[in-house]
Amino acid sequence: MSWRCPLLPLRPSRLLAAALLMLLCGLACSEDPTGSVVSLRSPATFLYAPNCVIDGSWHRFSDCPDPDRIVAQAFVTNEETASLSYVSIGTAGAKLSDTRLGVPGLTGVPIGERPRDAAATSDGAFVLTVNTLSSDISVVEVAKRREVLRVPTPEPPVKLTPVGDAFWLFYPSGLVEIRALAFDCGAGSNQYDENLCALDETQIAFEVSASFLVEGQPKAALSLPTNERVFVSYTDKLYLSVLVPESSQETCLQSGEMPPCEVERLPGGYGCSDGLDNDGDGFIDGEDPQCYLRGGAESVDGVGVLTRGACNDGIDNDGDGFADAFDPGCTSTNDGGEEDGQQELQLPQCVDGIDNDGDGLVDNRDADCLDSSDGSEDGSSLLPACDDGVDNDQDGAIDFPEDSGCDSFSDDTEGATNSCGDGLDNDGDGLVDLEDSGCSDLSDDSEGAARGFCNDGVDNDGDGAIDLADDGCYGASGMTEKNVERSGLGPMAVDPGGSLYVVDSTEWQVIVIDLATSQVVDAGARNPFSTGPGIRVNAMPKAVAADIRSSTIVDAGGGVTIKRDEAVFYAATTAGTLDVGSVSQTFQRFENQTVTDTVELPTLKVGDNRDSVASVVSRRCLNIFCDESSLPTIELRARPSVFVTDAGALLTTGDDGKPTSVPVDELYVPETWQLIYEGILPNAERSDGLFDAAGGELRFGGNFCSLGVVAGDHVIVEDSPSSQKGLDCGELRDKTREFEVAQVRADALYLQPLDDPTTSSQLPNRSCYPWGTRFTVRASKQFVASGTETGSLLGRSSRGGVCSDAAGPLGGGRFAFDEKFENALFKTTIPTGSLPAERGVGIEFSVTSGYVGLRLQTGPLPGDVVVVPTLSRKYVFVPDGGSNQVFIFDAANFSSFESL
């Protein structure tokens, strides 16, 4: 084996050092040195290989008969020192092993540069490392603690996965090589005997036996223990590939190919953004007529929200105490009812797959469809400037045909064609021409916000595709042609129960895929704050491991025991935590070894570390004195749970026979809620209102849909009008300035006078308010709910300037007396007479969370996480490149051991 002396550039500063080093090298290069590799430096990968050390000698695991003397062996790749460290795992922790007898403290075997991934032969005799900088593979003979072979690769490899006796090597280009290690050291082909073997480079090879290409850029790979399937994630795809070895009888995705090849693709996210044609209609993601958002589903049985329905509306529709995904009656997000079994989902016209208005355009292809809750394909959701009832160019004439600047109702420009270069404030927002963010340049025809990018006949993002031909467009009402170049998925793990876990570093989640159904388990449906279908973990996950934690939780005597199997994952994050995710729990009751009862409980969250529950801790009236008896009950949302009695019975209901309420998850945060009658909408107490010249049109520097304003709400103009002589602002000065909202657009409210002689019948205009005004928006005859942390529940989305009618996944944020108010967090009813129907009166209550995520402290740059089952206990190892440590935890109780 050769060893290179370091090459030094010939610069003056290094001549002396070079001379000295060359002298040393001359001495050192005369034999195989191991260098000064001590301790861990940028540890990246932790590899547990099935071997052991007995009294200092290496043995196959199968040859380790005496458990008391076994010290299991593992390995760590060190990126910075290009070395492989040996780790001895004992009964109470682990320690680094010296790699060379007679050189205490030397804990690394020199290998290729920037080693990242590693894998071992099935007998544990060799460890192979993937070296990205030197673009090669190191083969380390474990017993001899030396690199025995270095194999160059065609490009820097990213992943090495053992599949049976072979190794699958993945490259950034999509190349997959299948290689096998071949050697003979006297004991027979590929028979390793540490006493016989004295291998040199000529006696061992790591040759390619087969290769093929996958379409993406591989990021990680994982082989099932059966070696029948290999899962691959990509840096540029949101799906996973399923590859099979040569022995497989399955049919390749690409016709004409034979195994080894890709046979299936698994979704790795919501149906409308996973890169797959989930419903088999020939359309993928945004091309699919049912996809309006990347968080949507392509069909009723897809992952994501197809349209608002009983199982995704934040409401307990069947009154059983559970709502949406927590209701056992909801089989999926798009189940049409909370009753048992799949109910038919009522599909609005814009998501029903039918050309309802006969214009040849279906669902999101039809520009008249605003979103998946839009009930009519007939009726434009995008209002052109010449059909919007607004004097857009402030010339006194409104729309076609009154405004001579309009050629038709569909004309989107009322006035001069270069409104960004005319020195006028055409859209009445107080900003002129290029001051106005709506203007891109002087030739821009409109000062207003750009809209309808997916329906304007223009290649807005310059990629050569226009409107619906652009795969960035999610429907004709989409607001961008630009395709979000989301990063793909990362490392994976599989648990013995058949779930696959995939790291999504972009959305900071771990996605759970049920391998029995090949579908994503929509954990996001249990959390309306979630933006993904996975289990949200700390920022930013880098690695994952999975396990089944089994324990006997009750021994009631008389042969009655209850055992709990919990599917868990461990996600190592750069926030310096190892998040312990709980996916499902299976409780089994045994009587004399016989199972008498089984209850399964999906959990789908990062585990709880406190064993406490959320609760309402205080209630009081606002702006009125009241006694507690007049306060309504606030009921937090229930979660299914399992109770075990001392007698060893499994229960799924409480003592009262009703479902047990145990809301312990991150949905609840400590906060205070206010329910105020005719309250001010959250964030709708503003000082930036601006009226149009004609009067009655109110704009501000934001989106009225986001504020949750609806027609019927009241706007109170807080400032008095200008006192400048000659202005006709009399009523505005002398009467109450309160108006009703007649129409809401994202960028404007259209006001009308109230039917109340004490209020102004004169609508405010620019002349009376030349510098703008303060204003507030209040609900009318309704309570408004808002939380100090959750904020508003009122916000609605908008497209093309039009507000969506659909409530968000949290449910609504306003209600009337006697109306049952419920959302994804709590429910209540305020009876008539319990509080006076006076503006500003309401109730306030506080909620505690009780939830503390089960997160173990690690370091900032985790490279891996591995569960190691030894005879004495199960460990979890986390190498961390940021702190140069390997953190060690006991998987049974999460206590930590001294790190490496």
């Binding site: 090459l7 030094l8 550039p9 610069r11 500063s13 990246a44 990126e79 910075e80 540069e113 990242r116 990205t132 900088l133 820097p156 990213v158 950034p172 850029q217 540029d236 953004s273 958002l293 990347r294 968080g295 270069g421 005319d422 020195g423 002129v432 021409d433 290029l434 001051e435 002087l442 999610y474 989409g478 607001m479 961008t480 630009k482 979000v484 170049e485 989301r486 990063s487 570093s505 972009t506 900071w508 933006t531 993904g532 920022a539 930013m540 880098k542 994050t573 750069t574 926030a575 310096g576 935590t577 908008s798 690690t858 370091g859 900032p860 740059l861 490279g863 490149g881 940021g882 702190s883």
Partner: protein, 419 residues
């Protein structure tokens, strides 16, 4: 009050006045060496590919503080410093940027809290302060800015202002069109190491010896601002040395090209178990959808998704960290190098005396080249010379790398070196 003390104070005041008078025309200490590079930091490359500008920091205050820093001009044909073109300026300068047509340059100078500017000849060989064209020192050409400017990003701005009459109505020309004033200006975003300050300045175009119009506004955005990057137009990102987040901001600039203020656009959290990270430099991908940040606590490369989308919470602008790569010690500044098939990131590793080559698509370190001691800045020329230039702070030199094989660059020359 003590009489003796009063007398001593009076004497001190007189002596101070005399000393000030003498210092006003004759700085104490040695003038800087114009022939050599000393503690080189930031660099800029003329678009012709023939001239390199190197900021020398006077880091050890070996020379007099007021004008001990220099801006060296290097002829890339002969790979030699042109001492006759070297200009002096304040100490602790860090970053130099050229404007859109390389007619002007800007240097952040921490020693005198200024942005020092200079004009360049068309061929880039002559560098001068137009307000004192014959002076070796650029001291006349500087804008006072808040304390300790360090990072600097450049953009080109434009505003159109309508001429108005006394009633505020647009003045029209004979064709009935509004009379407009077009204004182009240089837009600078400046990171200040102290007080968490970020500034945005506009600098008007000038000719001859006219002093350019200058306006500036500052805001506290992030702890220990260290570097700024332009995403597009007028949107910038800033990182800090003791920051817990990355911040996107944009200036409010009036129709008269005056900076009115700074708007905070987005805060991108950087997850860390520590109280802060140590951001060093920022670089956008070519399509601006990814932002790369070098971090020295821990030594790493952070990747942020800055792509734009629609207003869907799921699919909209992600604006958060999506990857993190373990790096050699002291990752500092970055530059893109194209292989023809892909773009590679070259990242100086200050404590590793090397440049790490990262394939951001994997991401992984796929190459490494040793350079001088304490590599700081890096510039790439793949237009004319297929070379990269690395300023070696601790070795007082600039390494020249041959990029014929971008995965395996070779150090072919070293300009300057230890004194």
């Amino acid at each position: 009050m003590n009489v003796v003390s009063l007398s001593a104070r009076a004497t001190a005041v007189v002596l101070s006045a005399l000393l000030w008078a003498s210092c006003a025309t004759d700085f104490p200490g040695d003038p800087p060496d114009l022939d050599n590079l000393e503690y080189p930091v930031g660099m800029a490359l003329h678009p012709s590919g023939d001239t390199l500008y190197v900021v020398n920091a006077n880091f050890d205050l070996k020379y007099r503080p007021q004008d001990g820093g220099t801006l060296s001009v290097i002829d890339l044909e002969s790979l030699t410093v042109l001492p006759e073109q070297t200009r002096t300026m304040g100490s602790f300068a860090t970053t130099v940027r050229l404007n859109h047509d390389a007619s002007r340059g800007y240097v952040t100078v921490r020693g005198d809290s200024s942005v020092t500017w200079f004009d360049l000849s068309e061929d880039g060989r002559r560098l001068s302060c137009p307000l004192a064209p014959n002076s070796v020192d650029l001291g006349k050409c500087k804008f006072a800015v808040p304390s300790e400017p360090t990072g600097l990003a450049y953009s080109r701005g434009h505003r159109t202002q309508a001429l108005l009459d006394a009633n505020g109505r647009p003045l029209l020309d004979n064709d009935g069109r509004p009379r407009l004033i077009e204004q182009d200006f240089d837009l600078l975003a400046i990171a200040h190491l102290r007080d968490g300050l970020v500034s945005v300045a506009t600098v008007g175009d000038t000719t001859g010896t006219e002093k350019p119009a200058f306006s500036i506004a500052s805001a506290t955005l992030v702890d220990g601002p260290s570097d700024i990057a332009l995403q597009s137009g007028e949107r910038f990102f800033v990182t800090g040395r003791v920051a817990s987040s990355l911040v996107a901001f944009r200036p409010a600039i009036g129709a008269d090209a005056q900076v009115l203020g700074i708007y905070l656009d987005a805060i991108l959290q950087v997850p860390t178990p520590f109280s802060s990270h140590q951001g060093r430099s920022l670089l956008f991908s070519q399509d601006k959808d990814r932002l790369y940040l070098t971090n020295q606590s821990p030594n790493s490369l952070l990747v942020f998704d800055t792509s734009e989308g629609d207003n869907d919470a799921v699919s909209g602008t992600v604006n958060h960290i999506i990857d993190m790569l373990d790096m050699p010690q002291g990752p500092n500044r970055m530059a893109w190098v194209s292989t023809g098939e892909k773009d590679l990131l070259y990242i100086t590793s200050f404590s590793d005396d090397a440049v790490a080559i990262v394939d951001p698509a994997i991401p992984a370190i796929v190459g490494r080249v040793e350079v001088g001691e304490g590599p700081f800045d890096i510039l790439v020329d793949q237009t004319k010379r297929q070379q990269a230039y690395v300023s070696n702070f601790a070795e007082h030199s600039v390494s020249v790398l041959d990029l014929s094989d971008p995965l395996h660059p070779v150090e072919t020359h070293v300009i300057g070196g230890l004194q």
